[in-house]
């Protein structure tokens, strides 16, 4: 009897230690992801599907690079820039990497200040993140222009060597750049929502009809960090390999 009463009054979201906790969560009624905001669970499911999309691209890149009999262009030279009279290998991509990592840092800080309910600092950090993201897309546009206009690389042809290089380059960096661009747009939307005080007043979202909270900034952050995460793999496999 006492046991039954205890079971009824116990917090159903109480985390048991170790594997029994995982099993209890997954075997529980209605909710597997306890104490996780619905927006976070949904963005994680989206990110897993996006992981598979980018993995398909990178695996496709691996197969065409392994199977081509034409020489693969040396990315170190292709993406070199002449600065102050010196030719520096891969420098543009290195700068892009640092810009994207910095934007990830400011995003992480924005999430933190959001949970502190610091409206102004959260807004400013989100705006800096958006600006760094826009700078990244700008440098990518420069890189594409250089490759298309000066080198004559096309998705179906490549004067520097294997034509597969062109196909893979435009497909992978294009898809990633699209993700960054969409991220910049959403960063601005979330920043404006924060500045207006939507989260402080818990106004109802125009699409969800649910009260908006600072968890929304974390959901935005998860997407943005994911875009940075994908770049880590593209940088390693496409540019450095």
């Amino acid at each position: 009897m006492t046991q039954a009463t205890q079971a009824n009054t116990a917090d159903p979201a109480e985390l048991l230690p170790g594997t029994p906790g995982v099993v209890a969560d997954w075997a529980s009624d209605q909710r597997a992801f306890k104490r996780v905001p619905w927006g976070k669970a949904m963005i994680w499911i989206f990110l897993i599907s996006d992981t598979f999309i980018f993995s398909c691209f990178l695996i496709a890149y691996m197969t065409v690079r392994v199977s081509t009999t034409d020489p693969w262009p040396n990315s170190s030279e292709v993406f070199a820039l002449t600065l102050f009279g010196n030719k520096i290998p891969l420098i543009l991509i290195a700068i892009m990497t640092f810009v994207l990592i910095s934007s990830s840092g400011t995003m992480a800080l924005a999430v933190n200040f959001g949970y502190r309910k610091n409206r102004k600092v959260t807004f400013i950090l989100l705006l800096i993140t958006a600006l760094l993201g826009a700078a990244f897309v700008g440098m990518q546009a420069f890189e594409w222009t250089k490759l298309i206009v000066e080198e004559g690389v096309r998705p179906w042809a490549n004067p520097l060597g294997a034509p597969q290089f062109g196909a893979v380059f435009f497909m992978i960096t294009g898809f990633h750049g699209t993700h960054v661009s969409i991220g910049v747009i959403f960063l601005i939307i979330v920043a404006v929502k924060v500045l207006r005080g939507n989260m402080d007043e818990e106004r109802l979202g125009f699409m969800t009809g649910k009260p908006q909270r600072y968890e929304m900034v974390e959901t935005m952050g998860l997407y943005w960090h994911f875009v940075d995460l994908v770049w880590v793999f593209i940088f390693a496999f496409f540019y450095l390999w």
Binding site: A13, I59, V64, V66, I101, G105, R116
Partner: protein, 114 residues
């Protein structure tokens, strides 16, 4: 609304990880700058890549503070990709092998029957 756990951590954690990500990125760029070649190059690239990815997912994406029910749901499915990479590598090797034979005429021995 069910109680949710806000991800509230000291700021210092983020600055440390940020600095580490900068160092690791600089290190992977140095692999290219100093033109490391062969297995040491692939090894260093993959190590730095995995460390960076791990730090981003674990700290910036708050994975180390999430309940394991969510952590496993996110980490386990992508592990299947390793099988996909293996299949892709096998097939690509075979394609290269057949192309290598097909595109080099010297490899063909045309037997003349008398």
């Amino acid at each position: 609304m069910a109680q949710t756990e806000a991800q509230q951590h000291p700021l210092g954690v983020y600055f440390k990880i940020w600095a580490l990500l900068f160092i690791l990125s600089a290190a992977s760029y140095m692999v290219d700058y100093f033109q490391f070649e062969g297995w040491i190059r692939w090894f260093l690239i993959v190590i730095f890549m995995l460390l960076k990815a791990g730090l981003i997912v674990a700290v910036f994406m708050h994975m180390i503070w999430e309940r394991f029910a969510l952590v496993y749901a996110v980490i386990v499915p992508p592990l299947l990709l390793i099988v996909f990479v293996g299949i892709g590598a096998l097939e690509a090797d075979h394609t290269f092998f057949t192309r290598d034979i097909f595109f080099s005429p010297n490899n063909f021995v045309i037997e003349e029957h008398h």
